[in-house]
Symmetry: C2
Subunit: 116 residues, 2 copies
DNA sequence: TGCGTATATAAGCATATAATTATATAATTG
DNA sequence: CAATTATATAATTATATGCTTATATACGCA
């Protein structure tokens, strides 16, 4: 069936929801569902210490929701679309308000990292 | 637009996900999305103390996800479909495995409460 | 190679969470 | 109305969580 909803076991869903039940991490995921971001961008945006940001990202990485990708001295995080719970997470994030404004704000303040 | 996805603010979504990021409460909600249940049924099913069950239900009730309905000495809980976040919650629960087995198990053990 | 920048990890601390036991409230029944 | 059953609340405790500061690692560049 092409139209069936992907199912996630209760234990797996609990782990995912526990991680997403935090404003910082939920916002991170909402932003990442639009574009990859690097650590320093999150630090700027959340007005939070760098270790704190790193620890949140670590938790998301530990259960495989995001993956990291080093570009020079920066490490970019993105959503791991290969994760078993990805369809679940995506359909969840689809209910959140658009986060483009946050990235635009960073860009305007000259804080968006670009390293192409 | 009849086809648009209902949006939930980040703060509201965080509160909901924090509550659902607990195995007991998530399972409760999955069960309730199929049928109303009374406290003693949950106590049996989760093999957990009655106060613990009551406290979980209290949290769900406090943010309005469920509502209670007394029938004689029993109190039945059901999902509050009028909650602003209801479409969000429903689409989330739709990804969880069917919980009918749990209710059937209770019924077979003669523990399903019926008071019609 | 040495310095600056970006990120990660470790340790410590304050608060939040979920369970338990004890007790209170409410309805049912004899 | 007293006893029983169902549920809620309160107090306590153990553990989890998230933040901070301090330190380590990794890369880029002069």
């Amino acid at each position: 069936m092409s139209n069936s909803i992907s199912t996630v076991e209760i234990d797996a869903a609990t782990k995912i929801l526990k991680l997403l039940g935090d404003k910082t991490r939920l916002t991170m995921m909402a932003m990442l569902s639009e574009d990859e971001c690097c650590v320093c961008e999150f630090v700027e945006l959340f007005q939070m210490s760098q270790p704190s940001i790193s620890q949140h990202l670590r938790k998301l990485k530990d259960i495989g929701l995001v993956e990291e990708n080093r570009k020079g001295q920066w490490i970019f995080y993105s959503i791991n679309t290969a994760h078993k719970g990805y369809p679940f997470v995506q359909s969840l994030l689809a209910h959140l308000p658009d986060q483009k404004g946050k990235l635009i704000e960073l860009e305007q303040r000259g804080l968006r990292v670009c390293c192409d």
